[in-house]
């Protein structure tokens, strides 16, 4: 009976999305989310390292800071809110790894 209804629907152009198309769409979305899932431990580690880098340049409010993965329907973003107390005055130094042009 339902197949007859399907047939009539198709005949009169009331084409419904096929269930495999629906599956494709749902699966795509869920995989975007799955693949971006980070364990709380790793996220915490990321936060600690971020603080380490940032405090070389800025004085920040670590308590008021938040770092999280923001997931919307089809994309993922790392959203960080970091209150800055002050900017450290710092003389830019030449990194030792960069070639200095002087050879022995």
């Amino acid at each position: 009976m339902s197949s007859l209804l399907d047939f009539l629907n198709r005949l009169f152009g009331r084409v419904e999305k096929s269930s495999s198309d629906i599956a494709k769409k749902r699966l795509r979305l869920v995989l975007v989310q799955d693949r971006s899932n980070m364990s709380p431990e790793v996220l915490e580690e990321l936060k600690e390292e971020l603080i380490g880098v940032l405090t070389r340049y800025l004085e920040i409010d670590e308590v008021g800071m938040s770092v999280e993965l923001d997931k919307s329907d089809d994309s993922v973003a790392l959203v960080a809110s970091i209150p800055v107390k002050s900017v450290k005055v710092r003389v830019p130094k030449i990194r030792s790894l960069e070639p200095t042009g002087v050879s022995e």
């Binding site: 096929s18 269930s19 995989l31």
Partner: protein, 267 residues
């Protein structure tokens, strides 16, 4: 001699891992390779049943790793196919009875004796999974064209990568071409497209009632020349040996073809 260790995994249960292990292993042995099947699904022993070897088990994998018996004594010889042996799982213990290190050691011993070591991994992503994959050189992921199985397959590919098993093979099990043609089942292309992974499709196995019959009898379908699923498994075995084999045309075909199939004039 140093054989190849292949682990068959899926994440989700019920997609046909054990059937794949039984058929690939039997097919490889029938093609002349010394092959051992290892049931790593400790506590939920099933490979012996699918292989029809359940009445001949004396020792199991846990007896071997705990040193209660020699490896050779625990192996069960298949009587139908020369060069095919099974190391059964324990039914009374659980997954923690074998550690990843012990599994590595076991695989090392087995690869010295066999051309192929095929491991049946338990469902799930816990201890049993990590143990089963520990000694493997290559992984096969079995999935079905269905959302939950594919999601789990995607997860497993990531976990395999973390265990340094990159570029796994994929076997698509139980495809129903009539449903694919109606738009009610994902196609293999959709799947590779969505997963967008570095996976090589090793085989596509049609949904086939004869699989249930073969499980009832304990006779792997790969030995049945009339079965289409059997043919799909024979093709997989050839691909594993490095041959280029075209994928079968699984479309249902017209009434004549179906009639011919019915009377055994066509596959």
């Amino acid at each position: 001699m140093s054989g190849q260790v292949i682990v068959v995994t899926s994440g989700k249960g019920g997609v046909g891992k054990t059937t794949v292990v039984a058929n690939i292993g039997t097919g490889l042995a029938a093609a002349g390779h010394k092959t051992v099947l290892v049931d790593a699904d400790i506590g939920l022993r099933n490979l012996d049943l699918i292989m029809g070897l359940e009445n001949r088990i004396v020792y199991d994998i846990v007896d071997v790793v705990e040193g209660r018996c020699e490896l050779k004594k625990a192996l069960i010889r298949d009587k139908r196919v020369e060069g095919l042996q099974l190391l059964p799982a324990s039914q009374t213990r659980d997954k923690t009875a074998v550690s990843p290190e012990q599994m590595k050691e076991l695989c090392q011993q087995l690869r010295e004796e066999f051309d192929f070591v095929i491991i049946d991994c338990p469902a799930g992503i816990e201890h049993g999974f990590h143990t089963a994959v520990a000694g493997a050189d290559k992984a096969i992921v079995v999935s079905m064209l269905e959302v939950s199985a594919l999601r789990d397959a995607d997860k497993i590919v990531g976990l395999l990568e973390a265990s340094e098993l990159t570029d796994p093979y994929l076997i698509v099990n139980r495809i129903r071409m009539d449903m694919v043609q109606r738009g009610d089942m994902l196609d293999v292309n959709d799947m590779t497209d969505i997963l967008g992974l570095q996976v090589k499709v090793l085989g596509i196995v049609p949904d086939d009632q004869s699989i249930i019959v073969s499980a009832n009898r304990g006779e792997p379908i790969v030995l049945d020349n009339r079965s289409r699923a059997g043919q799909a498994f024979r093709n997989i075995v050839r691909r594993l040996q490095g041959e280029e084999v075209e994928f079968m045309d699984l479309s249902q075909g017209g009434l004549m073809l179906r009639l011919k199939r019915l009377v055994g004039l066509a596959k």
